[in-house]
Amino acid sequence: MAEIESGGGKKLSTRVDLTPMVDLGFLLITFFMFTTTMSKPKSLEIVMPSDKKTDVVNKVKDYTALTLLLSKENRIYYYYGIGDNPLVPPKVEVTYFKNQGGVRDAIIKLVKDVNETKQRDAGQPGISETDVPTILIKPDTNSTYLDMVNALDEMQINGIGTYAIVDISDVERGFIKATEAANSDQ
């Protein structure tokens, strides 16, 4: 029979090494910290033009307007002005949502042009101090929700206060087709 050691026997320590437990604790903390901050969705507020107010577009002055036509494959066709004169079709150009050299440049140019025109032609008929750059967003049926949110986001980024989402017309679909045809010729 084994003898119970006494006297010279080693005393086993009751202490447990807690280092791995602390490691695990901090690992989990890091996990929860990241999940809490990352999964907070934000909300982008928009006010859609009510059906009863259809004259919004008619009030826009020609020199303050920029129209963005959202099309397939995240393309944007844009032109300055209202473009309602059938004899002089607007110059339509194509661009994309990009941080550099995208649609933002067109918006910045519009803001600059509007401010310059206001200073230069102050007091002339049709030019008022209260004129602001106005952007009309017209998504085509082959655009996606992503395009719409990107366009609205671009308004926020560039500090554009006056913008509206408007239905696209067949005339504008014609602009897109004409631009596509012209670009494929090159």
Partner: protein, 231 residues
């Protein structure tokens, strides 16, 4: 001179206190974390630079990439009232258990006629249910038979009655990046026809690109708050 014998010190540190702190923090984060509610469909939202959070007491309309619409409402009391009202008004034939199932559950996306067959399922079978989405019939100009409009009207009526500040609930639209625009337009159109024209589009957060107008504005506001605190 007698020699002093220095006792050898152990290099071990007592980890108990650190362990306590670690687990205290862990408990805090676990309790503070709000996990994503289980959603019937996976929706990848686009991102935007906006910083405003989702308002409380809001109706959530989820729109997946096939254009199916799902309804949810974070006001449980209003949800309870609205399902009871819808049950009697539209003769859905739901049992009290099924109504309770609706109140506690997450998004639903089925026509009113299919609602009972979904709510009678146990939570294990719910994952296999094939949602058809809430019908948004836009062919009828009056929208009297449009179920989506009916859902939203009910939710707004009971949401206003059950809100703490008496305001009518906001409409949040959570759509997938790939949702075709006509589907979004149809959803918004049905609601604007009913005098609802303010929407919150749910997006993920995104950094503001440097050098833009918004970026400069935010930098300015950061600077002013800094100087204010220094003065």
């Amino acid at each position: 001179m007698p020699k002093h014998k220095l006792p050898r010190k152990s290099t071990h540190i007592d980890m108990t206190a650190m362990c306590d702190v670690a687990f205290l923090l862990l408990t805090f984060f676990m309790l503070a974390t709000k996990f994503k509610p289980d959603e019937p469909v996976v929706v990848v939202t686009p991102s935007s630079v906006t910083e405003s959070p989702i308002p409380p007491n809001s109706i959530l309309l989820t729109l997946d990439k096939d254009g199916r619409i799902f309804f949810d409402f974070d006001n449980k009391a209003a949800k309870k009232d609205m399902i009871n009202d819808m049950n009697t008004a539209r003769k859905l034939g739901l049992t009290p258990d099924e109504c309770d199932n609706f109140v506690r559950g997450s998004s639903v996306g089925s026509s009113l006629s299919q609602l009972k067959s979904f709510l009678s399922l146990t939570s294990a079978d719910k994952g296999n249910f094939q949602f058809s989405g809430i019908p948004n019939d836009t062919t009828d100009a009056t929208l009297d038979n449009n179920e989506l409009v009916y859902w939203v009207q009910e939710a707004r009526a009971f949401g206003t009655a059950n809100s703490s500040d008496g305001k009518s609930p906001r409409i949040c639209i959570k759509a997938d990046s790939k949702t075709p625009y006509p589907k979004v337009r149809a959803l918004i159109n049905s609601l604007t026809k009913n005098e609802i024209d303010r929407f919150n589009l749910i997006t993920a957060a995104e950094a503001v690109p440097e050098g833009t107008a918004l970026w400069e504005e935010r930098m300015k506001s950061v600077k002013t708050t800094n100087t204010e605190t220094h003065n």
